[in-house]
Symmetry: C2
């Protein structure tokens, strides 16, 4: 077997982060993913730094394990070529704004007539319906309107963007879940369907208990820095050489912390700290006791002592520490070398979905623009070199 999804062929028309991340997941898990880009420019993210030998490693990370072809969907011949590819595909994903594919004569109603087995996935800022559907949506828009920025940041500080394109990542993952659910449903219904993912919806759903707090109290939850509104102690604490994480999610861990680590067993019966909600309420007072302990130790010492007693604790890694960590980079293989035809030897992010019998495999580097035109159009559409030269000259590929 080449992977859990080796029976699936995916046409990936998406650009930038959200859709490409979804396509990469499917490719890592064994699907045949064909990335379709406009001629000449390709995906916008080919312009995004960093570049090595003129090729974007930003693009190369998110588009590994995909074959790459160019296709001008505005050209009638290009449109027909897409229809011919759709006949042989299980899944098509796109992240144009709503209506763009319809105007190209390639909307879901057309494609599903060509292949009623097709599962058609869309990912947009706001989804396919509703008053904001036509608004353009980038990750930062979703982080802003989905509420994540309002919750992230220091107490009293400004709303803060997650340091990655988290809205895009959440959206791409939701699309992957929706597509695979539709693959299961196809066996029950006998046909494909459309999956509609909005970045904003994806951010909203990720906020878990924050809305529960709003609905219960009617109060807008404020930013709380690194503490958590539902559990305490569960925060960063000052050590001699930086900040360290200590987290006690249940009563037993709190008791171990008081008795065996910070040397304050009397806090267990202290009326300010007898339940998790009380500890949340009196978090600042509790933090003083904990920092009496952490403040005399290095981060490494705190982590070692806490883990020795079974209390969750961690250093705050920067990216250099992560890529050299023996567990994360070593055993979990979260960074994978590939040989890119232009970039050369490079490292892409590993895949976190460890299926034991059919594990994710990352071997194929991202395509240069149109790299697989001959291979893909030859195999799937029966086009020969002469015809491909004509199509290139006509601006179709």
């Amino acid at each position: 077997m080449t992977g859990a999804l080796e029976n699936l062929t995916v046409l990936d028309l998406t650009r930038v982060v959200s859709g490409p991340y979804c396509g990469a997941i499917l490719g890592d898990l064994g699907a045949r993913v064909i990335k379709i880009e406009r001629p000449e420019l390709g995906d916008d993210s080919r312009q995004y730094a960093p570049h090595i030998n003129g090729e974007s490693t930003y693009y190369a990370n998110l588009n590994r394990n995909k074959a790459g072809v160019t296709l001008n969907l505005k050209h009638p011949v290009g449109r027909q070529m897409l229809l011919d590819l759709v006949k042989q595909a299980d899944i098509l994903i796109e992240n144009y704004r709503p209506g763009v594919m319809d105007r190209l004569g390639l909307g879901y109603d057309v494609l599903s007539q060509v292949n009623d087995q097709l599962i058609y996935g869309t990912i947009t800022g706001f989804g396919q319906y509703g008053p904001y559907a036509d608004r353009p949506g980038y990750d930062i828009v979703a982080q802003a309107m989905g509420g994540l920025m309002s919750l992230t940041g220091q107490k009293g500080g400004p709303p803060t963007r997650s340091g990655n394109a988290m809205g895009d990542i959440l959206g791409g993952m939701n699309l992957a879940i929706g597509l695979l659910a539709a693959v299961n449903a196809r066996r029950l219904t006998g046909h494909g369907q459309r999956v509609d993912i909005a970045l904003v919806d994806s951010v909203v759903a990720s906020l878990e208990n924050a809305f529960a707090r709003y609905f219960e109290s009617g109060q807008v939850p404020p930013r709380t820095g690194n503490s958590y509104a539902s559990i305490a102690p569960y925060d960063t604490f000052q050590a001699t050489d930086g900040h360290v994480v200590v987290a006690c999610g249940n009563q037993r861990l709190f008791e171990v912390l008081c008795q065996e680590l910070i040397g304050h067993p009397e806090l267990i019966a202290d009326p300010r700290f007898t339940t998790i909600p009380l500890r949340v309420l009196n978090n600042e007072a509790l933090k003083v006791y904990i920092e009496e302990w952490t403040g005399q130790l290095t981060v490494e010492q705190v982590v070692e002592q806490a883990l020795g007693k079974g209390v969750p604790a961690a250093p705050i890694y920067d990216l250099g520490q992560i890529v050299h960590d023996p567990h994360i980079a070593g055993h979990r293989q979260m960074f994978v070398p590939v040989d890119h035809p232009v970039i050369g030897r490079m490292t892409v992010n590993g895949n976190p979905i460890k299926l034991e019998e059919t594990p994710p495999v990352i071997e194929q580097p991202a395509p240069t623009l149109g790299q697989h035109n001959a291979a893909v159009y030859g195999e799937l559409l029966g086009l020969d070199a002469t015809r491909l030269e004509e199509l290139a000259a006509e601006g179709v590929i």
Copy 2:
């Protein structure tokens, strides 16, 4: 049809956020999800605020669409009952530390002999193997060691935790993807397999281009506040009544911004700003021009003017604005009322995975502890009321 996954039965032994979020996704999409909790205490998150009528709405949000039973896995009769349930299940998920299920005599090797079709999903801080596998892992540990905190926060400020349990959410979503990929693979191989998700891996994979930047430059990426290291302008900007997001992900949008919004068409040819990488490099200088414009307008005016020209822009919503927004709360149904037997009428988060033919449905409130013992054990194990009373008296359920 009742949903895309209506043919699947899931045993959900998970606690707190990561696993329960995965189980809720599967339940929303139509799977039959049976949440299995220890007698008397149940899931740790039943202790997490907020509470209404003594029941946690934190728990209730993450466990809707599940039937709830109690079961003491340390009791030999309880263990046998789980084995009998496994015979009728497609999927089992758990987030104990590695080895706990083995010590209970309920490891994957045992369960797969009872039912070779079983797909067994685990979610832990660090995964099932590697030197840190035995460490306890909470969300904040994964955010810290996975690099998200090192990237999030203001320039020169401290590392910052995402304002939600993002590591748990990412882990739960990766588990859902892995399980559904394994459902597909089961048709190819004829049997189930184990899926191993680590919160830390999930956070690492979510950082998309950040590692590409590290590998290219060898420099540890610093925190950049609300700006983005790969695109500019793409940030928050000061308006008269707050901050507003404006984001130009390609050349065309940048030209529209300069020409039609900020009144500085000369910037298009300015050598500091001619490409996206140059604009990232000279982001601060560019921001001055943009804030000349935003600084004279309200957030609403900036958004209206920008969207009028097709330039992505957004207000930064707080949670109160989101739950009253006609698009998000209205058309996209991202908040759903359910009637909980103890809490009463309450609102849970909607599901962002909009399958058009088999949409997610949220109707069933989270269970009170052991609420469905009679229904589930009656139907699946053939136990009658007398036997259930005995089992309760013996501490099995």
